[in-house]
């Protein structure tokens, strides 16, 4: 009986840690895009430094989850909770890495005027952030509907990505001088698109956790 209680307590604590990590990643993505739009190199550097904490938290949570498997030998839903946790932190960690990638772009193009005011990229960023938030909300509330709803948001991000791609391509064709910066911005759009995909992975993991069924959200 106490073993059971200990297990629940440990797992609840870890789920709380996962939410903390999620919050840090949400912040990192926001700051990264903000640093790009405002060309704020200090903020970009803060994002890059902050990733160390995120990575550290990820390995720590993972170690503790693995220890739980090894010592408690959970089955059924308990095991699913642990596996879902591992999946979520893996995806969060990758999002954090992409936030760093975006912050690096800020540093790279610092000092140059932007070839165009950023319109679609902040829009993509906002939707991706919303998806990360929704994914974690769905996780907190075990909300399968919310997880499925994210699917439609991902379509929007994909659509914006191809729009940004086409637009930047025209800039590059018109003026080869813009190629260096346009390529960087194109990467940013790509990173945001990846972040949105990782968010759908979280949504899928939540559905698996609640129902035990596989569901492909990223069609």
């Amino acid at each position: 009986m106490t073993a059971r209680r200990n297990f629940d307590k440990a797992l609840n604590e870890l789920e709380n840690e996962i939410l903390r990590m999620g919050s840090m990643v949400e912040r990192a993505i926001y700051d990264a895009v903000e640093s790009l739009a405002k060309q704020d190199v200090d903020l970009a550097q803060r994002v890059i430094n902050g990733d160390r904490d995120i990575n550290y938290l990820e390995t720590e949570i993972e170690d503790r989850l693995v220890t739980l498997i090894a010592t408690q030998q959970p089955i059924a839903r308990d095991l699913r909770r642990i596996i879902t946790g591992i999946k979520i932190i893996t995806n969060l960690e990758r999002m954090g890495d992409h936030a760093v990638d975006i912050a690096r772009v800020t540093k790279r193009i610092a000092g140059q005027p932007l070839i165009k005011p950023l319109v679609d990229i902040p829009r993509m960023a906002k939707i991706s952030q919303q998806m990360v938030k929704d994914g974690l909300d769905a996780y907190v509330r075990s909300d399968v509907e919310k997880a499925k709803y994210m699917c439609s948001l991902d379509d929007e991000v994909d659509h914006l990505y191809s729009q940004v791609f086409r637009e930047l391509l025209t800039y590059m064709m018109e003026d080869p001088k813009t190629i260096a910066q346009a390529t960087s911005l194109l990467f940013v759009a790509r990173f945001l698109e990846r972040i949105a995909d990782y968010a759908t992975n979280i949504g899928e993991a939540v559905i698996y956790l609640v129902t035990g069924e596989r569901f492909d959200l990223n069609l």
């Binding site: 709380n16 903390r20 919050s23 938030k133 509330r141």
Partner: protein, 451 residues
């Protein structure tokens, strides 16, 4: 079985009593009758006691459902006392109950009435209470009354860190935290620890205040000051530079000296203009200006403009077209101020329209307003600049604007004057084709027309 024993016992007891009293044995029949009678009396007595208990039971079972009604007065020695005690207990209970519900109601009303967000945490840092204000700040919260870890209610690691710190230190603390979605908000959080009478921590109250607007205003103010200092320093630096050169010997060369002095003169003029503009802007903003709206004929004002700008229009070979309808009603406005608006708009139009172009001032009645439009065939304003063009010191092209002698305040003044008249300003423009600036002023009422 019991009945039989009872009857038999009664029968025997009766026989003995009768035998003792009468001194003789009664007939069996009498005995039986007496026994039955005795039993009925006994039974009635039992029944009555039973009824009393039943009554008590009925009332007490109501309590289980949470309904506390008093036991009705019972005229009975033994039970009466019990009933009294029970009634007293119920009264007390009801009093406590009312006090608790009222306290709760009052607390809820107070919490709901507070505009700021309020959150109460227990000693483990779990959320145990939130108010409406908090939901207004963050949207629907994942909280139903059950204690919940903070991160499941509001997922913000900075907030969690802060509250943990406050819980560990048991001190009043204040911090500003930025929340991101759906819109970024700056929130000032003040926490007060809750302690019991033994100074042991019980939990934490956190109050959330949205200070996004204040921060934004502060930022605007500091940006404005930075802008003003920059704008003032630019002509000053140039004046100082030429002065130093003159002192260093350029004064000897008459032609150079004169040229320098001319530049210094124009820079001084610019400085004067800038300060004048700043002063009038701050006056209008502080509403300290003499605002005296009178019925006004726009035709006259616009004609005056034509005279005022005559030489500059001819210089740039610009045609100036006035197309005001003859029956344009009088407007209720401050003449000096509307002149200022027209001067600023036409001045801009002249500055940014290449030679040979056209400037047109037109007006039209729109409901109870007159809309005046100043349209040019100038260089136009890029779309992303259009919504910021009325901001103080906003310039599409800084260098060009300064070269043309602009202070960066003209359109801000226009906007403030028209807003003082409760009117609206707008801009429509296309790069390379020209711009149109419009504003509305109220029509003077019929009564005043008779003047």
């Amino acid at each position: 079985m019991r009945l039989k024993i009872g009857l038999l016992l009664l029968f025997i007891v009766n026989l003995i009593i009768l035998f003792l009293v009468e001194g003789k044995l009664l007939s069996i029949l009498d005995g039986v009758l007496l026994a039955v009678l005795g039993y009925i009396i006994f039974w009635a007595f039992i029944k009555e006691v039973n009824n009393k208990f039943k009554l008590l039971e009925e009332f007490t079972s109501k309590w289980r459902q949470g309904r506390y009604s008093k036991v009705s007065y019972y005229n009975d020695k033994e039970l009466g006392k019990i009933v009294d005690n029970i009634n007293h207990l119920i009264e007390q209970l009801e009093k406590y109950n009312r006090a608790i519900t009222e306290g709760e109601k009052r607390l809820n009303a107070i919490l709901a009435g507070i505009k700021a967000g309020v959150m109460v945490l227990d000693r483990e840092g779990r959320v145990i209470l939130v108010n409406k204000g908090l939901e207004n700040l963050f949207g629907k919260l994942n909280f139903t009354g059950e204690p919940k870890p903070l991160l499941e209610v509001i997922r913000n690691y900075e907030l969690e860190k802060f509250l943990k710190e406050a819980l560990a230190n048991l001190k009043e603390m204040t911090r500003e935290i930025e929340f991101l979605l759906p819109n970024s908000k700056t929130i000032l959080i003040h926490v007060t620890p809750l302690k019991d009478e033994h100074d042991q921590k019980v939990g934490l109250v956190a109050v959330f205040d949205d200070i996004t607007e204040e921060r934004k205003l502060e930022k605007m103010r500091s940006e404005f000051i930075a802008n003003v200092s920059h704008e003032l320093r630019t002509p000053l630096t140039s004046i100082k530079g030429f002065l130093e050169t003159l002192l260093d010997g350029a004064l000897e060369d008459k032609t150079i000296a004169k040229h320098f002095l001319q530049i210094m003169n124009s820079e001084t003029e610019r400085l004067t203009r800038l300060i004048d503009d700043l002063l009038s802007l701050s006056k209008i903003e502080a509403k300290k200006v003499d605002f005296a709206p009178k019925p006004l004929m726009l035709q006259e004002l616009v004609q005056k403009m034509k005279l005022l700008f005559k030489s500059r229009l001819e210089e740039k070979e610009l045609s100036f077209i006035i197309s005001l309808p003859e029956n344009l009603p009088l407007v209720l406005a401050d003449g000096d101020m509307i002149s200022q608006v027209l001067i600023n708009l036409i001045d801009n139009a002249i500055k940014y329209t290449p030679a040979g172009g056209k400037i047109e001032v037109s007006a039209d009645v729109k409901g109870s307003w007159v809309e005046v439009v100043v349209k040019d065939t100038g260089i136009g304003i890029p779309e992303e600049s259009q919504k910021r063009i009325f901001e103080r010191f906003y310039r599409v092209d800084k260098a060009r604007s300064r070269e043309l002698g602009g202070t960066g305040l003209g359109l801000a003044i226009v906007k403030h004057i028209i807003e003082l008249h409760n009117g609206k300003v707008w801009v429509k423009s296309k790069v390379g084709e020209g711009s149109a600036f419009g504003f509305t002023v109220p029509i003077a009422q019929q009564a005043q027309k008779g003047e």
